[in-house]
């Protein structure tokens, strides 16, 4: 499955959940397919989508909160998997699009080919951690995890396919903050 196909499969499954996006390919692909007010596009601060999502989840316990992360981000902040497990917010769903490369900077390899991130999450203490390789597996896996007690982890293995012509997020960072906060009120 190509990375874009994973987004095309996943995004229509979303309702009004806040989604914190990792920088790079994740932000740009998601923004290009479907922009939402509930999307927080983290354009810099690589590695922090998971901790931002944890903060939102802890302070909005009545909302399901989704982190849409990448393998490079998860590897950079593996310690945050431990923090999420320790705080164990039951409303946090951590989805990772794993293409095994730093795609938006030119497909330099990450090391997630050698490190099964779903096993890392499970060992850290997530209540469930699931890996899917096929497009058809995304919907049933995501829906099951959304109806489970969190924190849960969904690893979607994809092939890189990013078109560098894919647009960048056009909202200013301040606009992203304002509308995301409004959607959380």
């Amino acid at each position: 499955m190509k990375g874009t196909e994973a987004f095309q499969e996943l995004l229509p499954l979303l309702g009004d959940e806040p989604v914190v996006h990792a920088n790079g390919f994740i932000c740009r692909e998601s923004f290009s397919i479907k922009d939402r007010e509930e999307n927080f596009y983290m354009i810099g601060s690589m590695g922090l989508a998971s901790s931002i999502g944890l903060g939102v989840a802890l302070c909005k316990p009545d909302r399901k909160v989704i982190v849409l992360d990448g393998d490079g981000n998860v590897l950079m902040s593996m310690g945050t998997l431990a923090m999420i497990s320790a705080e164990a917010p039951n409303n946090l769903v951590h989805v990772v699009i794993d293409n095994e490369v730093y795609e938006s900077t030119g497909k330099q390899r990450s090391i997630s080919n050698a490190v099964p991130l779903e096993q890392v999450a499970k060992s850290a203490g997530y209540r469930q951690a699931v890996r899917v390789d096929k497009k058809e597996e995304i919907k049933p896996a995501f829906e099951k995890l959304m109806n489970s007690e969190g924190p849960v982890f969904l690893l979607i293995k994809v092939e890189p396919c990013f078109d560098p012509k894919t647009g960048r997020v056009t909202h200013t960072p301040e606009e992203i903050t304002e509308r995301f906060m409004k959607s959380l009120r």
């Binding site: 927080f40 810099g44 601060s45 901790s51 903060g55 802890l58 302070c59 903050t177 995301f180």
Partner: protein, 168 residues
């Protein structure tokens, strides 16, 4: 001169509606963290790295809480990219309580350089701060609240050795 203790300072922050605390410990802040672990009105979440604490605070702020980040100045280096590419451009405020190890060049070797440059780093990044003293508490809290509520930017309170009790 009004006395300032770990308890009175934390209680004051809680009274000012700062109720979400996280960070990475420093001995100079140990009294604050001990008190935080005892109070019911506030939450203290141990972070594994200072930049993860910045992310956690950003999420908490956007979800309606007023976050406080406690860290040693050694954590400032880890946080600089988060401050410059998240907080400053997105206008996501946070109150930072940063201990000043290496002040005046008298400390363990690993603290000397950061102790010398921590204020210059904040200034270079365009981030406002004050050195907290018992006599300026009201004034710096007002300044911090203005920065946070009106400009929506981070504000740092620098804590010198001996300001708060240490527990170890």
């Amino acid at each position: 001169m009004a006395l300032i203790t770990s308890k009175s300072f934390i209680d004051r922050l809680i009274q000012e509606n700062f109720k979400f605390f996280t960070g990475v410990p420093c001995s100079l802040l140990s009294g604050l963290i001990s008190h935080l672990e005892e109070v019911e009105e506030a939450k203290y979440i141990p972070s594994v790295r200072e930049d993860a604490a910045v992310g956690l605070c950003a999420g908490a702020y956007m979800a309606g809480s007023m976050p406080v980040l406690l860290m040693q100045n050694s954590g400032l280096g880890y946080c600089l990219n988060a401050f410059t590419s998240l907080n400053l451009i997105y206008r996501i405020p946070v109150l930072v309580i940063m201990s000043w190890r290496g002040q005046g060049g008298k400390d363990a070797p690993e603290h000397i350089i950061m102790g010398d440059i921590n204020q210059k780093l904040l200034e270079t990044a365009g981030m406002d701060y004050s050195v907290l003293k018992p006599e300026n508490l009201d004034q710096v809290l007002e300044t911090a609240k203005r920065k946070i509520n009106e400009e929506k930017l981070p504000y740092t309170l620098i804590v010198e050795k001996g300001l708060f009790d240490e527990r170890h």
